[in-house]
Symmetry: C2
Subunit: 137 residues, 2 copies
DNA sequence: CTGCATCCCTCTGGATACTG
DNA sequence: CAGTATCCAGAGGGATGCAG
């Protein structure tokens, strides 16, 4: 450990030491990695929301994707969907405790993102500068 | 705090309170959300690796995707690519300090994932059970 | 209001073959 | 070994229209 950074600071990064395979990270990654799940979870972290409220809170989302997203989150047990048999229909979405615990993770993500957005932006700029017409993005 | 869970435990989940927009989370999400970036980062957390080593360490990945993945990570300043002008060619990949800091996040992700994999699996099972032929995944 | 069905287009990513 | 180039199938996701 002479220059730069240490190799491994505190043991293996993931619990499945030697090998990594998926160890189930894939499941979570696929969920938080998709385009809208995180934003919906973040909005629901503020409290119970109805369908239209969610759609307005997440500006770019289409009803199709909002429907798909909340269905998947419901399926994973991250939120609950409560239908009030009124007219017009009223459906309320709320995070489950597990969903709430996920918001902590998301917060870490957001924090890291904010903390490194500038360095990343600069790195990208320099790289694009040094590699014109690479087609990488 | 009577029943269930609290609404907002410690202020807004993301720094961009009222509104959320992207606040730059998108950038990070797109990177860690793709199919291979996280696995490559995890492998590199163990130490410096060469191209073939990486490919063998991440079983399912094709050279095409490995190339694309490391290029993008390099562009973002998360890893360095060192070419040794030998024959046969030898290229070493290593995480930057910023890349290493990301591994901490990934570890949190993996921990959460492992901690909730069973509840999620059960929730999915029950949901699929209650909603046959929904087409949701 | 809440949601499903359909069309359609883009982008991801796998397989394969070729180069320095 | 370390890539690059090409082709191609499938998933993701937007727009729109219809229904309860």
């Amino acid at each position: 450990m002479s220059a730069g950074h240490t190799e491994v600071t505190s043991g293996p990064v993931v619990s499945c030491s030697g090998e990594h395979e998926d160890c189930g990270i894939r499941d979570v990654l696929d969920r938080i990695g998709d385009k809208w799940s995180v934003l919906v979870v973040v909005e629901l972290a503020q409290g119970v929301r109805r369908f239209r409220q969610l759609q307005r809170a997440v500006p770019g989302i289409s009803q199709r994707m909002l429907t798909l997203t909340v269905r998947r989150l419901e399926r994973d047990g991250l939120l609950t969907r409560t239908v009030h048999p009124t007219v017009p229909p009223q459906v309320e979405y709320a995070l489950t405790p597990m969903g709430h615990s996920l918001t902590h993770l998301v917060k870490s993500l957001a924090d890291w993102s904010l903390e490194h957005r500038d360095p990343i932006a600069r790195a990208r700029q320099e790289w694009d500068d040094a590699n014109p017409g690479s087609g990488i993005h």
